[in-house]
Amino acid sequence: MPDPTVILNAQATQRALTRIAHEIAERNEASSEIVLVGIQRGGVPLAKKLSELLAQIWNHPVPTGHLDVSMHRDDLGQRAVPDVQPTIIPFDISGKTVVLVDDVLFSGRTIRAAMDSLTDLGRPKRIQLAVLIDRGHRELPIKADFVGKNVPTAPGEKVKVKDNEVFLEKQ
């Protein structure tokens, strides 16, 4: 296997997150209505960072939780058993604008599962989606509201986020 290509280094990741935070703030004037929900596992550290950045912009803390979508996936039984992580959302999402945060947007099935899962927890006023990488190949009509970087990929390639850096692994 050839060496993975770096798509975003640590500084570029940080810049992308800062830009996403400002875009979220620009799009959502009522800052008290915003809650962040990171999708296990890759979205969780990103949601935490976005939460810190938004807290600086708005001068108040932004409620942040994490969501595991394994129980709502449509491909259970077609793949290895997912490693189910706890869902921790210690606030009411009803009436809020929930910004879902994930690292890589690919087929869209994770986001579909996440939206189903969220509606079991309450009725958000609206749901927005922030991703660090959009690599294309959607299988569902799902689109991100905030994107760190669009990366054209082949279906068999892998996009990995590790220690604030994003890599593309060729087959």
Binding site: M71, L76, G77, Q78, R79, A80, P82, V84, G108
Partner: protein, 313 residues
């Protein structure tokens, strides 16, 4: 991700990592039970048959609710209303259920090994809901979950199992699970019901209750199983209560943070005093709540324990 089993037949064959995977997964499912909507679609469109060839109320109810909370379709098949009375064999009954496209069979049977037998003749996933005096794996998993939840760990804890060990599948499964996870297990009860042979499973055996409970972090009381017992095993229930029942005087000599467990149904005034069963050191009702989460986790895991594909999403 150490789980790719299609069946849950016993604890003996599980690795410590697999047991830990069940406990970790159950943590996520416990949270589902605390939400307004206590249901997830993980087993939507799947059919589960609860084949209870030996009477059971609490285990069957727990499995049934777990299945419903996973959105599975559930059929209950019990001894009373069944074809067993008409002479059908277990294998034929199971093949008939499979012909109805059952995906999972939860079986309780008075014969040890019945679930293992079914797993060899069926394509469906088989989950052991208790087989004879052999194993009761989901009980051991929920007990381990409850201990870990309250004590934060299992490694190094002193766990005493007190009561009828010889006839107890709960004891056997618990011994396997706890020793694999690094607990020190002590067994105690009348010599006829707690033979020394259990030392071969890595346990300490004592017939002195004070000795058994003084250093225990967890005391797990087992019911005297009248239905599996010959009358010659001990002279009387009264004598058992006097020698081995957990009463206030005995509880006072345990560690102050020792916790009390019991798989139920409890016989108040026999193996446990009412006050202790209802007291704040009792985990008996936590066990019931956790049993639901653990059974959801087990069904979820065996459902997925088939495919090697990696997540893409």
């Amino acid at each position: 991700m150490p789980w790719n089993r299609k069946h849950l037949l016993d604890i003996e064959s599980l690795t410590p990592e697999e047991i830990t995977t069940v406990l970790d997964t159950a943590r996520a499912f416990k949270a589902v039970g605390e939400r307004a909507i206590k249901k997830v679609p993980a087993l939507r469109g799947k059919t589960v048959v609860n084949l209870f060839v030996e009477p059971s109320t609490r285990t069957r109810i727990s499995f049934e609710l777990a299945e419903q909370r996973l959105s599975a379709d559930v059929i209950n098949f019990s001894t009373e209303a069944s074809s067993f009375k008409k002479g059908e064999t277990l294998k034929d009954t199971a093949l008939n259920l499979q012909a109805l496209n059952a995906d999972f069979i939860v079986i309780r049977h008075s014969a040890s090994g019945a679930p293992h037998f079914l797993s060899r003749v069926l394509d469906a996933s088989v989950i052991n809901g208790g087989d004879g005096a052999h194993e009761h794996p989901t009980q051991a998993l929920l007990d381990a979950f409850t201990i870990r939840e309250r004590k934060g760990k299992i490694q190094g804890l002193n766990v005493t199992i007190l009561g009828d060990i010889l006839y107890s599948r709960v004891a056997r499964s618990n011994i396997w699970a706890l020793t694999k996870l690094g607990a020190k297990v002590t067994l105690c009860g009348p010599a006829t019901l707690v033979p020394r042979v259990f030392e071969q499973m890595g346990c300490r055996v004592t017939h002195n209750v004070e000795d058994a409970i003084q250093d225990a972090d967890i005391i797990n009381l087992l019911r005297i199983q009248h239905e599996r017992q010959r009358k010659t095993m001990f002279p009387s229930i009264n004598e058992y209560t006097t020698l081995f029942g957990l009463n206030k005087a005995r509880l006072a000599r345990t560690k102050p943070d020792a916790l009390i467990m019991h798989p139920g149904p409890i016989n108040r005034g026999v193996e446990i005093d009412s006050e202790i069963a209802d007291g704040d050191r009792s985990l008996i009702l936590d066990q019931v709540t956790n049993g639901l989460a653990v059974r959801m986790a087990v069904l979820f895991l065996v459902n997925g324990g088939k495919g090697p594909q990696e997540i893409a999403g």
